[in-house]
């Protein structure tokens, strides 16, 4: 049983489409979802299912054209929430050192130099990047850059952290390490996370709940409580019956959608 949480994000009948006339494409349709404070929601779906559209609306880079998006009960545009955003590709500013990148969100908030240095350094050390703070992004490996990216999104302690397939481009071993680090940090900070991935296993091992989306127009096919206690042993979670059961159940749901999306992708 999960503890009832205060709703932080509420999507009520949210739809978004692009283009006009015959070229009109409905990206997402009738999304209903409530995300509680401190909850980690993972979203899986076939490619082109509107995951990015959903994320853009949550990031307030885009607005639904029907339905309502609320943060802590207030319309998204007026809500006083801070959002962290980790992109699919690494998006550290190449002209700033790692430290200056992580300090960036604090800098634009006018946090005094000594304090922002201290906060940035503390987080960098937590993800094993101490000693690399004066490196430029191009001098770091892909995995290090992505960790820097995540740290930059966490350093100002946002209410919600959005992650768009952050580990998609990493090799398997690096990904495992980063998943573990992410789990540790989130558990400690009690951050609310919406995590988009195409990797079902990753969705289950990181999420409190997993959302499976349908092929375009994207809507929510099913939502499952993972129900595996934290902290999770990511090395052996695959052996748990609950995990295996979820993989089978969610894959059955996802497979149909992937197959439905595939001809559209091929054409």
């Amino acid at each position: 049983m999960s503890i009832p949480r205060e709703p932080l994000i509420e999507l009520v009948g949210v739809s978004r489409s692009f283009g006009r006339g015959a070229g009109r494409v409905v990206a997402v349709r009738d999304l209903d979802l409530t995300v509680g404070e401190g909850e980690i929601i993972t979203v899986v779906g076939p490619s082109g299912c509107g995951k990015s559209t959903l994320l853009n609306m949550l990031a307030r880079l885009d607005e639904p054209d029907a339905g309502e998006l609320r943060f802590r009960g207030r319309p998204a545009a007026e809500a006083d929430v801070e959002i962290g955003y980790v992109t699919q590709s690494d998006s550290l500013f190449p002209w700033r050192t790692l430290l200056a990148n992580v300090e960036y969100p604090l800098e634009i908030r006018g946090v005094p130099k000594a304090e922002r240095r201290e906060r940035a350094m503390a987080l960098l050390a937590r993800v094993g990047l101490a000693g690399f703070e004066n490196h430029l992004p191009r001098q770091l490996s892909g995995g290090m850059r992505q960790r820097g990216n995540i740290v930059r999104a966490l350093v100002y302690e946002p209410d919600i952290v959005l992650m768009d397939e952050p580990f998609g481009a990493l090799d398997a071993q690096t990904r495992l390490l980063q998943q573990r680090q992410l789990q540790d940090i989130c558990a400690e900070e009690r951050t609310t996370v919406v995590f988009i991935t195409h990797d079902l296993q990753e969705a289950i091992l990181l999420g409190d709940r997993v959302v499976v989306m349908t092929a375009r127009p994207g809507s929510i096919k099913l939502v499952r409580e993972v129900g595996i206690d934290r902290p999770r042993d990511l090395d052996h979670i695959h052996e748990q019956p609950r995990f295996q059961h979820l993989v089978t159940e969610l894959w059955d749901a996802l497979r149909d959608e992937v197959l439905r999306a595939a001809p559209a992708v091929a054409s």
Binding site: A59, L61, E82, G84, Y85, S89, W95, I108, R109
Partner: protein, 282 residues
């Protein structure tokens, strides 16, 4: 197993041998360049007056004499100073105006769209053809040269700035927006740094054109400057004097290029080292 070892050993020897040979036999690159220069000058010196009429191709020594003569007389320095001033002032004004225009246009697609045909037409006009007009409008003095330099510099810097501002990676803009940066902060901390490589490239490319503008302006009508000195010498069939002037222009262009590359490397410290060099069109 044996095969792998042999291959490995061969790779090693292949990599080591040429390197060792280089270290043993070859002079450093700069010394080789210098040696080539000496040889070329010696051949030139030997040819001139023997195989070629020195009237057409004066010997390096004759050019050096002409150079020394105008340096001692002081005319070289006065003319050099005039040309450098015209180039520098025209460059500064033109580049500054182009930076402002490039940023404004880059930030407001509407303005850019409305003014685009005018810019294309102006840019397509050979600026050299405007030079006589500038003489009529602004006189034969300093001002007409500066204006010509401005028109040469403006478009190069403008288009690069415009492109730089427009082509900022959208991901950076999104990330900064979500992190809570204001429009002003985004401009200062994301758009400007992201546009810097193209802006610097535009500035680098425009400097040789600034020099061209000044010299052409002086060719057309003037009473001072290196262009004036070259024209004066050629009018009196003084090929050695002409070539001395050309040599000074070459030296100026190379020096500017060296300084610029140094500054560019400073500003763009975050970019990977590139072997790209400014193409000098002089």
């Amino acid at each position: 197993m044996t095969r792998a070892t042999t291959t490995a050993r061969r790779t090693v020897t292949l990599q080591q041998r040429p390197a060792a040979r280089v270290r043993r036999r070859r002079l450093p690159v700069w010394a080789q360049s210098l040696a080539l220069l000496v040889v070329l000058l010696a051949v030139w010196e030997a040819f001139s007056g023997r195989l070629v009429d020195p009237f057409y191709l004066p010997a390096p020594s004759a050019i050096a004499d002409a150079l020394a003569e105008s340096a001692v007389a002081g005319t070289l320095w006065a003319n050099l100073w005039t040309t450098v001033q015209e180039t520098a002032i025209g460059f500064l004004i033109g580049a500054l105006a182009a930076l402002v225009a490039g940023i404004v246009f880059g930030r407001s697609p509407r303005v850019a769209a409305v003014l685009d045909p005018f810019l294309v037409a102006l840019n397509a006009t050979p600026r050299v053809a405007l030079a006589p007009l500038f003489v009529v409008w602004f006189g034969i003095g300093f001002l007409s040269k500066v204006i010509l330099v401005i028109t040469m510099v403006f478009f190069i810097v403008f288009y690069n700035t415009f492109q730089g501002v427009r082509s900022v990676d959208a991901t950076y803009l999104r990330v900064a927006t979500v992190m809570g940066a204001s429009q002003r902060q985004i401009f200062r901390t994301v758009i400007l740094p992201a546009a810097t490589p193209l802006i610097v490239l535009g500035l680098k490319l425009s400097i040789p054109f600034a020099l061209i503008g000044a010299v052409i302006g002086e060719f057309i009508a003037s009473s001072a400057g290196l262009g004036y000195q070259i024209k004066l010498a050629s009018n009196t069939y003084d090929t050695a004097g002409t070539m001395a002037g050309i040599f000074v222009l070459m030296v100026v262009a190379v020096l500017i290029d060296l300084v610029l590359n140094r500054i560019a490397r400073r500003v763009l410290f975050w970019q990977p080292e590139s072997t790209e060099r400014t193409t000098n069109t002089l």
